[in-house]
Amino acid sequence: MQLILRVKFTKESYLKYISHLDTMRFFQRMFRMADIPIAYSEGFNPHPKFSIASALSLGISSEGEYMDIELEKSIPVETFIDNMNGVLPDNVRILDGKYTDDDSSISSLIKWGYYNIQFEIDNEKMTQEKLEEIMKAFLSEENIVIKKEKRKRKKIIEREVNIKPQIGNVILKGIYNNIVKLNVLLKTGDSGNLKPTDFLKGLVEYTSLIIIDDSIKIHRIDLYTEEQNRIVSPL
């Protein structure tokens, strides 16, 4: 019987600039510091067994990350949370956790990601009403086709993708001083993945909005799985 602990954690502030690979190394050190009895793989170069649900792109903060950790022996969930939070920096916190007997991995469970996106626009005299119209028109497009680049060995291959089916609910939170705030639900995970930056690419392509690139701030609010066509927490 495998002991899998599934936990939810945050990664905020400047720590959003830590890459996925560096985050993995970071957690390895943290498990060691917190004395977590994590299981190791067999073989020539054993590594600790844990996996993060969905790799967060560099520059995106989050308050809803998940990972599965395989333990060698059982410890109370509270002990895990307390010990980890005792060594973790303020901007990474373990929020919750439970043992799971789920056969499927956390990464295969994730279907949706909910994001808060904020950016500055260079359009003059933009109002809330105008913006609402723009968003409405954008979301009623039948197809939203963007160019995606894919690196294959040394070549960069461009292909066109219709991202419309990967866009869920979009809520305009408001506009103030030309700073736009949106909440968007996007397909996330192994079975279809839309990056928030690609969503913005579509927005720029299909509307008159001029987005100032380096003003974009993206924050992941949570990740979800699906159960009987309903969106639910993976925990």
Partner: protein, 614 residues
């Protein structure tokens, strides 16, 4: 503090933004308004390199121990970040409080290699601090230098206000105390500098005048302020068990050059290799006791979470209690899957016991430095190892399952002939033959031997400080000789850029006249000279040409034994007589024994106490 909104926008435009955010585990951030001495520790290279440097971790924690002082870090921004900072008018700032370095009391640069000098100038400029010390005002920070390159600080004499020669642990506190006293009495910067120039180990270049002979060599160097010491004596910690050692280390979020615990096991080296500056200037050898090291390792493991403890020194196999230390460390940490590694191994002191212990956790690559290809030349440089040592060691290593070996050599060593150069090839081939002489079923892995040749740079305070460096053409000829002769896919030949080593030689033995060339080269765009893809040799040559400075005077010239050197005012411990004696012995291919086996009269025990000399 810099504008954080602009800063964050900039972070979105540069590669590896985590280099600039700080916030690492064990970072110390204080309220700058409540601090008497604000010290910015400046490493003139990128974060990834600077954070791997052990001295930074020691001094960072040492200075921060004091409540009235703070130490914050600053590194050279990579070229993309520099461009953005200049565009957005972000002045160079520290990682902790994101405070411009101009607002600090001290900016202390560590001089680890000569090829970082243009980065120092660039960092001052990015910090809006005038480059020449004479152009700075009472409002500018005091620019201080330390590290191995200060054993010839003269090429930087016009830039720095002061240098600390030797080990910094004690002397920094003494300097800070004077600074606080001066601040209280409203003394000027010059008054402060005069007061600290009395402290042992402190050198204030502007209080010394240099007179030259007609041929450009130095006639004399004398203090121009009454009573200031004529010679500056280096500082050392006499007892490493009692001296400060940090129990915590900053742990970067990103992968850096060395992501591991650096456990310093001793300082100094008794081997007496004649090319090696570190082996001379860090004398005498002082070991930390095994007990202290075990205690420290415990604290460091607890505070970092690293899975690798690297035993650091100039020649770690020489630690007198090495086997016990390694066994104890492995016993203590193998359950936690923490390994122990040795950064370099000597061919003659590589013992099976040590390697078997290390192997218990994981297998690392094997690197050896025979330094020269022939026994004759190894005797000239007093590198005690023999071909038998190499044969014995690699035979054992291959039997134990290793298959990749790296061998480090130098070309251009004094008295070198083509036969010596080709000896490098012979050793590489020999290692290959040893591997394939092992029965096929016992061999493991995919064999390669990497043979790496660097170009010899004569350094101050070594027996070869009088030697003229090979010309670039001569280096290239020797490299071609090896390239033409090494024709085996299993033997990989690497070499360093001779142009870079030539410039390193100019800066290593340069005098005050070289300073202007440094600034001129920087003005024409030179920086990150140690990065071969950014190094621009032509620009450097233009700078020398413009100022009518002959770089060959510094690099290629064979000095006479009675010449006064720019660095002669420093008392490094080893006497000039000893160095001369060693130079003469080198020419006669005579060996000098390891001084653990009996004093070889280098002179360090006359002026300094501590370690094996007692």
């Amino acid at each position: 503090m810099i504008d954080l909104d602009i800063f964050e926008r900039v972070l979105n435009r540069v590669e590896k933004p985590a280099r600039y955010i700080g916030m690492e585990q064990n970072m110390i951030k204080k309220d700058l308004d409540k601090i008497d001495v604000k010290f910015a520790f400046a490493f003139p290279d990128i974060y990834d390199v600077g954070m791997s440097h052990l001295g930074l971790h020691i001094l960072y924690n040492l200075i921060n121990e004091r409540e009235d002082c703070c130490c914050e870090r600053v590194f050279a921004p990579w070229v993309d970040m520099e461009k953005e900072m200049r565009k957005e008018n972000i002045p160079l700032f520290t990682l902790e409080n994101k405070e411009p370095i101009k607002n600090f009391d001290f900016v202390g640069f560590t001089l680890q290699y000569e090829m970082s000098y243009t980065n120092i100038i660039n960092m001052l400029d990015l910090g809006n601090i005038p480059i020449y010390s004479k152009d700075r005002t009472e409002d500018d920070p005091i620019i201080l230098g330390g590290g191995p390159c200060v054993y010839n600080p003269e090429p930087l004499a016009d830039i720095f206000d002061m240098f600390v020669i030797g080990e910094g642990e004690e002397v920094l506190y003494e300097i800070f105390n004077e600074y606080i006293a001066c601040k209280k009495s409203n003394s000027s910067k010059d008054e402060f500098l005069e007061r600290v120039s009395w402290i042992e180990g402190v050198y204030v270049p502007k209080f010394y005048d240099v007179n030259y002979n007609e041929d450009g060599t130095i006639k004399s160097m004398l203090p121009n302020v009454d009573g200031i010491p004529q010679k500056v004596k280096k500082r050392i910690m006499s007892d490493l068990d009692k001296s400060y050692y940090q129990e915590k280390m900053l742990v970067p979020y990103i992968e850096i050059v060395h992501s591991r615990i650096g456990l310093e096991i001793f300082r100094g080296c008794t081997r007496g290799c004649r090319f090696c500056q570190a082996g001379m200037i860090y004398r005498p050898v002082r070991e930390k006791s095994t007990e202290t090291l075990l205690k420290l390792s415990e604290k460091l493991v607890e505070s970092t979470g690293y899975d690798d403890i690297s035993l650091i020194s100039l020649s770690s196999c020489d630690y007198s209690n090495l086997e016990v230390l390694i066994k104890e460390l492995i016993n203590k940490y193998s359950d936690k899957r923490i390994g122990v590694s040795l950064p370099s191994l000597r061919l003659d002191s590589f013992t099976k016991d040590v390697i078997q212990e290390i192997e218990k956790v994981r297998k690392t690559g094997l690197t050896f430095a025979p330094e020269a290809g022939s026994q004759r030349l190894r005797d000239v440089i007093n590198k005690g190892v023999t071909e038998e040592d190499l044969v014995r060691t690699v035979t054992y290593a291959f039997q134990e399952g290793w298959s990749r070996v790296k061998l480090y050599f130098m070309i251009g060593l004094p008295t070198e002939t083509d036969e010596d150069v080709l000896g490098i090839k012979e050793l590489g081939y020999k290692v290959k033959d040893i591997f394939f002489s092992i029965p096929k079923e016992e061999r493991k892995g995919n064999f390669t031997v990497t043979v790496s040749a660097s170009c010899f740079v004569p350094k101050p305070f070594t027996p070869f400080q009088w030697v003229g460096q090979n010309s670039i053409e001569e280096f290239n000829r020797k490299i071609d000789l090896l390239k033409d002769n090494i024709r085996d896919r299993k033997v990989i030949f690497n070499y360093h850029n001779p142009k870079l080593s030539y410039l390193e030689a100019v800066l290593a033995r340069g005098d005050r006249k070289v300073c202007e060339a440094l600034v001129t080269a920087w003005e024409s765009g030179c920086k990150f000279d140690g990065w071969s893809d950014l190094f621009d040799y032509e620009k450097w040559m233009e700078a020398f040409h413009k100022l009518d400075i002959d770089p060959d005077f510094y690099a290629a010239r064979e000095r006479s034994l009675d010449e006064v050197f720019p660095w002669d005012f420093i008392e490094a411990g080893v006497s000039k007589e000893y160095l001369k004696r060693e130079y003469e012995k080198a020419k006669k291919e005579e060996l000098t024994r390891d001084c653990r086996l009996g004093c070889t009269g280098c002179g360090v025990n006359k002026n300094f106490s501590g370690g094996v000399c007692n």
